[in-house]
């Protein structure tokens, strides 16, 4: 299949023309027209999205906006956790950048230090048919939009159709009992599955929170303050995990984010939870690497099995964090308007082939979905995201629990036999209670 891999070039003029054609998101630009941005500076902190074209499009957008507005725009890139550290230092010091790519927790951890962009969020929502619930959960704190969602990265079950078939499993299981049964059969054939139980900032939560929720467990009550982790639902989830763990490939408690990708790409595992990047990387290398071609031909994506409480998913969300300390608020807004313009955002989404999907209702009918049949499921997956803390609203306490891997460690302690399932749940309850106690002290 031929893919358009060229970085899209969107000039400011085209962008304005597009905006004019789409009156709902006029994103009027008096600042540019009056030249008030000329000579100002805008520093944007970003990481490296896995799909290179999405990074190139950000750079191009910044370059075009700089040319048309006279602003000096700098995109500073940081690898992995360095971006989080840099963002934290800007929040703490009030200096160093105007905008950053962050994650949904940042809105709740740093809300007081972020600009109110409610009017922009409303305007964007009107343009694209409204925001999804997961977008509001990610970006609204205290009733105000303190960040703007870039998109969510749906994590699917990446599974090897050939290995499952060889084990006598024709389809990806639709229930947790079915997944356990499949794991047994796959393990017996020497092609085990693997779920991340280590300190992996992305895969850790996208793999483990859905299990908790599917069995009816939750971290907090609806008030977001009352710890609710010690429940029959959580215990059932832990017991299921303990049972299936014995059929995993060894080593999953030490897995960091790259490890499940590497194990799958080396055909050491038959299934794992990941975004579409395993497939995209394999497809990109398939022409020259027969092993990768074999993976592309024999893998597919499946959705989470349904549990007693339903079917859930937990995806990483990226947001734009507009720092309140920025001396260039007009520049901040100008950049955000350009990002969410009709001439940019749909193209940026399409080029990522469902890597990150903006949580905008109207995108379901936009021309942004990949043609590759093995990526079609992501359109459906996009509709079922929950954020950590679900059961209650996303809070700073829920964010801290994610960063401290409390839920992941609860499962891991039970799986490895370090604690009984009941003790592991009680341990997690204590940790959650301490986090809430600290966070609600003032």
């Amino acid at each position: 299949m031929t893919q358009d891999r060229r970085p899209a070039r969107v000039s400011r003029r085209k962008l304005l023309a597009g905006a004019a054609a789409a009156p709902a998101l006029t994103l009027a630009t008096p600042s540019i027209a009056q030249g008030t941005l000329r000579g100002t500076k805008l520093t944007i902190l970003a990481g490296q999205w896995f799909v290179p074209q999405t990074n190139a499009m950000l750079d191009q957008l910044a370059a075009d906006l700089a040319r048309d507005s006279g602003m000096e725009i700098k995109v500073e890139r940081f690898a992995g956790d360095e971006l989080m550290t840099k963002t934290a230092s800007v929040i703490g010091s009030g200096r160093g950048a105007d905008l950053a790519v962050g994650v949904e927790f940042d809105t709740h951890l740093y809300g007081a230090r972020l600009s109110d962009v409610t009017d922009l969020a409303d305007e964007i929502g009107r343009t694209y048919g409204g925001w999804m619930d997961s977008a509001r959960a990610a970006s609204v704190t205290g009733g105000r939009w303190k960040s703007l969602p870039i998109g969510q990265a749906p994590a699917a079950w990446n599974w090897r159709t050939d290995m499952f078939r060889a084990a006598g499993v024709e389809r990806f299981p639709d229930t947790f009992a079915g997944l356990l049964d499949a794991a047994k059969k796959l393990h017996a054939r020497g092609t085990p599955i693997g779920m991340t139980l280590g300190k992996a900032s992305g895969d850790g939560r996208s793999t483990n929170y859905p299990v908790l929720w599917a069995f009816g467990g939750k971290e907090f009550e609806a008030d977001g303050r009352t710890v609710a982790i010690n429940s029959p639902g959580t215990l059932a989830a832990v017991e299921w995990y303990k049972e299936i763990y014995q059929y995993f490939i060894p080593g999953t408690t030490a897995w960091l984010d790259p490890d499940n990708n590497q194990a799958f790409l080396a055909s050491k595992i038959s299934a794992t939870v990941n975004v579409n990047t395993i497939y995209l990387a394999s497809r990109a290398a398939a022409a020259t690497d027969p092993a990768r071609k074999n993976i592309v031909d024999n893998m597919d994506h499946g959705q989470w099995p349904s549990g007693p409480a339903g079917r859930f998913a937990c995806y990483n969300v990226n947001v734009w964090l507009p720092f309140a300390s920025s001396p260039n608020k007009a520049g901040q807004r100008e950049f955000l308007k350009a990002w969410y313009s009709r001439t940019f955002l749909p193209r940026w989404t399409k080029i990522g082939e469902s890597y990150f999907i903006p949580q905008l209702v109207g995108f379901d009918t936009e021309d942004v979905w990949p043609a590759d049949p093995k990526l079609r499921i992501f359109r459906e997956l996009n509709k079922i995201n929950r954020l950590p803390g679900y059961g209650g609203p996303p809070t700073a306490a829920a964010a801290e629990a994610v960063n401290k891997y409390i839920l992941v460690d609860m499962f891991a302690k039970a799986c490895t036999g370090q604690m009984t399932p009941r003790d592991a749940v009680a341990w997690a309850e204590k940790e959650y209670a301490q986090i809430v106690r600290r966070r609600t002290r003032t």
């Binding site: 934290a88 929040i91 300190k199 060894p250 408690t253 030490a254 590497q262 301490q434 003032t442």
Partner: protein
């Protein structure tokens, strides 16, 4: 001084008197030894105040507050420390830090001294070997850690590949998966990085020992072990202790190796105070609690530093 010079100049000429009265204040200051002393140490003192004292007292202030990155917080006294002590992850981390430090420093000491004794002997390519020994110390921490990550990798451990394919084992070790072995693995990497420093420092001490002492002790009938016990060890001890104290301080506050290899996992089995402080203070934005975690290193490090300073003062007084 300037005024007295003017008064006692005795020439009576207005020009001389004028010059004396208007003596350059800097010259006056330099002439005063006490003032000059303060002047000379002032840059260092200012630097220390700005780069050490200010952040240190700020950290104490943070640790006594419930400050987050987004909120200046309020004074809460010792509550952070009390809450930390009640926290299982913190207690486990504290124990990990002591085990990590004790284990790593022991390995550094044994291997470092052994290596120094070997390198002090004459053999071919001695200089090249001495230079090569320094590599783990010279290589940036991140690079060294990445190399070890591949050796220990849960999916593709190179060490396990060698062990299994040489027939020594059937499955290999769970280097980073088994909680106890994971802690051993990270301290092993820390020791690997620190051994060259210990070895080279002790080697410098060994080379400063006059050959006459060995000759005299040999004439007196001392064997190899006795020469080591009664000549080498006492004379190398000051250098050894300095290297030891520095190693303890650096290991106790190590961050990069643990974070690069395990991020504190699995199940917090390798968390040390520095990584927990980072996770709490920066990743979770709880800067008050993060500072409190960092400050719990202070008593141990303070004792070591005071002891070391006293030793240095004693040795310079002699």
């Amino acid at each position: 001084m300037g005024t007295s010079a003017a008064a006692s100049g005795g020439t009576g000429t207005p020009g001389r008197s004028h010059r004396a009265v208007r003596r350059n204040p800097l010259t006056t200051l330099i002439d005063n030894e006490r003032a000059l002393g303060y002047l000379l140490v002032a840059p260092v003192v200012l630097l220390l105040l700005a780069l050490v004292a200010y952040p240190f007292f700020m950290a104490i202030g943070y640790a006594l507050s419930d400050r987050t990155l987004a909120d200046p917080g309020v004074f809460i006294g010792l509550e952070n420390f009390v809450l930390l002590w009640e926290n299982q992850i913190y207690r486990q981390t504290l124990a990990n830090t002591f085990i990590f430090t004790a284990g790593s420093v022991t390995i550094r000491l044994v291997l470092g001294v052994g290596l120094a004794l070997l390198l002090n002997e004459s053999f071919r390519f001695r200089r090249a070997v001495r230079a090569a020994i320094l590599l783990p110390w010279i290589v940036p921490t991140v690079l060294g850690t990445m190399a070890w990550l591949w050796l220990f990798n849960p999916n593709f451990s190179v060490l396990n590949y060698i062990l299994v394919n040489s027939g020594l084992m059937t499955t290999g070790f769970n280097w980073l998966t088994d909680p106890d072995l994971a802690l051993f693995s990270v301290l092993l990497v820390n020791a690997w990085r620190g051994v060259p420093f210990m070895a080279i420092t002790v080697l410098a001490g060994l080379q400063a020992i006059p050959q006459d002492l060995y000759d005299a002790s040999s004439i007196d009938g001392a064997g190899k072990f006795q020469r080591f016990r009664y000549v080498t060890l006492p004379l190398v001890m000051p250098v050894l202790l300095t290297a030891l104290v520095l190693s303890i301080i650096w290991t106790f506050s190590d961050f990069g190796i643990v974070y690069g290899l395990t991020k504190g996992g699995p199940m917090n089995a390798t968390h040390v105070l520095a990584t927990l402080s980072y996770q709490t203070g920066l990743a979770s934005g709880n800067i008050g609690e993060g500072a409190a975690i960092s400050l719990t290193m202070l008593p141990v490090l303070l004792v070591l530093i005071i002891w070391q300073l006293r030793r240095i003062r004693r040795s310079t007084a002699m």
